[in-house]
Symmetry: C2
Subunit: 212 residues, 2 copies
């Protein structure tokens, strides 16, 4: 399929000289080199639900198994990718998804963790990424639990009216209806980062993203 696509692109490129100069090494070749299938792992959930913790531990576990992975994190991207650029707010998630898609195309397992509260925005991201390369992970942690944890003190600020439009307080969160992975509490408590990451790694293994 990819090879076919490349052939088509190459033909287009030769006839018009306009696009897809780089088609000679395609996604499949990169997958074979890296022994893994690039994909976008999109972690969504309330602030304080453990998105960044999961992303970090997942990255570590994949790295230790010799896989090439990278984390695009709301916290660190704020200091880089989207800083100072002329973005509309609603384009931010989409821009991150476009970048994640490029990483996946490059063969990297790319994790993006963003609250991404609206279903339509997450679906728009999914639609950008080719079939089966988008893996949505829902941190299914009740608001109450996240607010009790409040690791950044943001819920306190939001309740005091010092942050407006805060997800869960004065802005809605729409949980996924049909996502690939749901991370849940165990006996009402957060799972360990290791256990959460293993759940995702198992999914990747069982669905052919990781080769030996």
């Amino acid at each position: 399929m990819q090879v076919m696509e490349n052939l088509v692109r190459t033909t287009v490129g030769m006839s018009t000289n306009i696009v897809w100069h780089e088609c000679s090494i395609g996604k499949l070749e990169r997958q074979n080199l890296l022994m893994q299938k690039g994909c976008v792992i999109w972690i969504t959930g309330f602030s304080g639900s453990g998105k960044s913790t999961l992303a970090s531990m997942l990255n570590r576990q994949l790295h230790c198994r010799g896989h090439v992975s990278y984390v695009l994190d709301g916290d660190n991207l704020r200091h880089g990718l989207n800083k100072d650029l002329s973005f509309k707010a609603e384009d931010r998630a989409e821009n991150i998804c476009r970048v994640a898609k490029l990483f996946a195309d490059a063969g990297v397992i790319c994790t993006a963790s963003l609250i991404s509260p609206y279903r339509r925005d997450r679906d728009a991201c999914r639609a950008l990424v080719p079939d089966s390369m988008f893996i949505e992970v829902f941190m299914d942690v009740p608001l109450k639990v996240c607010e009790e944890r409040d690791p950044k003190g943001l819920y306190k600020l939001a309740r005091a009216g010092k942050i407006k439009g805060f997800t869960g307080i004065d802005d809605p969160y729409e949980p996924p209806m049909d996502c690939e992975i749901v991370i849940q509490l165990k006996d009402g408590k957060y799972q360990t980062p290791k256990a959460m990451a293993e759940q995702v790694v198992t999914y990747l293994e069982e669905n052919g993203y990781l080769k030996a």
Copy 2:
């Protein structure tokens, strides 16, 4: 150095819980896994100077040697990264550079080929990327030669006034004054793509970007 930085970030992370959750696997660890040093190879030059051709062949040569590389190309990015987003024109090169920087941070040898005619814009990109991770490649091909080749027919359109602000015709190109690599004509003719790519690979080898 990187380890130090990570330690600092980790400390910051633990005390405030705000940033750099992902520091546990850093740039150095990724370099060791991939046996290469991620970097941004920024190819600049007139339309028709061979930027995309070089990028494509370089990507192929690196891949065949087992290196992880990726091309961000003005032609393909136009269909993806910057499409429909609320970008000011002057932010485009910078956004591509930020993405390339993320790839380099992930350990990938990331080639970006853009006309990028203004010195201040290229310098701004260089300033975004940590020391020695930005390699500027100048396609030193005279305008006359590029216009004779005119592979996309764009010079013809620009001369006819159908494209405005076209680099070399009614918009300036400022050649680099001190870049890492200069690709020149040989006996007044384009070098082969293979020869051009080998010049860059040799630079990467001699400067420690590629390990065996």
